[in-house]
Symmetry: C2
Subunit: 202 residues, 2 copies
DNA sequence: GTCTATATACGGATAGAC
DNA sequence: GTCTATCCGTATATAGAC
């Protein structure tokens, strides 16, 4: 096991996967054509099919690897220290920027769009977001509760609420409006989210 | 102008539009085939094309009319009276149930999925949700502020936050999880949303 | 291993009968 | 106005040369 155990072999595997990702994330599953993918990957169609048995598995691999990549950069520092009133706005700002940076925006759209056709992958996406974002945030809140910086309440619920607020206000609107993501608006939204929580619980 | 001025003429117009809606809302634009639509509408393809010049316009008419239908039932009573602490949970519960009832759930998915291909319709959707949900809610909040039931703050911001919380926690997860929408969970989420707001501002 | 060329089916759209 | 039958481009997938 000196190398990966996944089937990532073949000289052009990454080239193919990246080309497929570009097209699938832009056009969705049904909207993407294998010809476009081959062009984007600069490979022939026959080469594509030497790596993947069909279009569906190509798509699933794109979802899997894109989700994997999405967390290469951490949404926020899980060991954030300092009082809640200072740390929370920083955390929300980091999370907001994380949510608004590609490929997370396109991934979000495509997963929702194809959830009925690829229910397992949609659930994996949902579960991963919970495990990697909501749960760590809840643990931070519990820490503040233990230190009496924040009033006792259900931390998991408020973590979910804050994440939903950011996703709803930022990703949702960015996808609908297409308005080129003004980063300062993300910061404002993050600050308002932290304020609401702090007003309620501190 | 005794009748509609829109081009809703022809005996089978509704039949065609409803059949198209069923397939488009289920499969998205690219995933839907005109053959499926014809079958679902129980009409021949030639008949479809006698009502719509092409598939794209068929899709846009489905979005338009479905969005129209979505507001036939009001999301909540805009003249809700009574103190904020009683009225707000009722309003949030009504809104939560509204969001979780078809065809709103499928419409939400499809609009996001196709926002890049149909940007105007995505913006119309976004604007309509704001005008019909967020803005009325903000006006209610301003009423409570005027009566000193709620502390002074930016009502539009908190209205946006609450709506985003509901959409993010309910629609979002229902679409990803497919888990048959347990209505009592919608009620819990609505109650928690109202609680957060009231804890922060009353 | 990767390509060109092709098999085969299905897509959107239309002609013409009734 | 609505249908049956069909056009024709494009889709996914593969055979066979190199």
């Amino acid at each position: 096991m000196t190398h990966q155990s996944r089937i990532t072999q073949g000289r052009k595997f990454d080239q193919v996967r990246n080309g497929a990702a570009e097209i699938f994330l832009r056009d969705g599953f049904s909207g993407a054509s294998v010809d476009d993918i081959a062009r984007s990957a600069r490979v022939s169609k026959a080469t594509l099919y030497s790596y993947f048995p069909d279009k569906r598995l190509m798509f699933r691999e794109v979802l899997r690897s894109t989700l994997d990549d999405a967390f290469k950069q951490l949404p926020f520092d899980p060991d954030q220290s300092g009082p809640a009133s200072e740390a929370l706005p920083i955390i929300m700002t980091g999370l907001a920027q994380w949510l608004m940076t590609e490929p997370r925006l396109h991934l979000h759209r495509v997963v929702i769009a194809e959830a009925a056709r690829f229910p397992e992958d949609a659930q994996t996406y949902d579960r991963t977001m919970n495990d990697r974002i909501v749960a760590p945030l809840a643990r931070l809140i519990e820490g503040w509760i233990a230190l009496d910086e924040v009033r006792l309440h259900d931390a998991m619920t408020s973590a979910r609420q804050m994440v939903a607020m950011l996703i709803g206000q930022l990703q949702h609107r960015a996808l609908l409006d297409g308005a080129d993501l003004a980063p300062d608006r993300a910061d404002d939204t993050a600050a308002a989210t932290a304020s609401l929580f702090l007003a309620a619980y501190s």
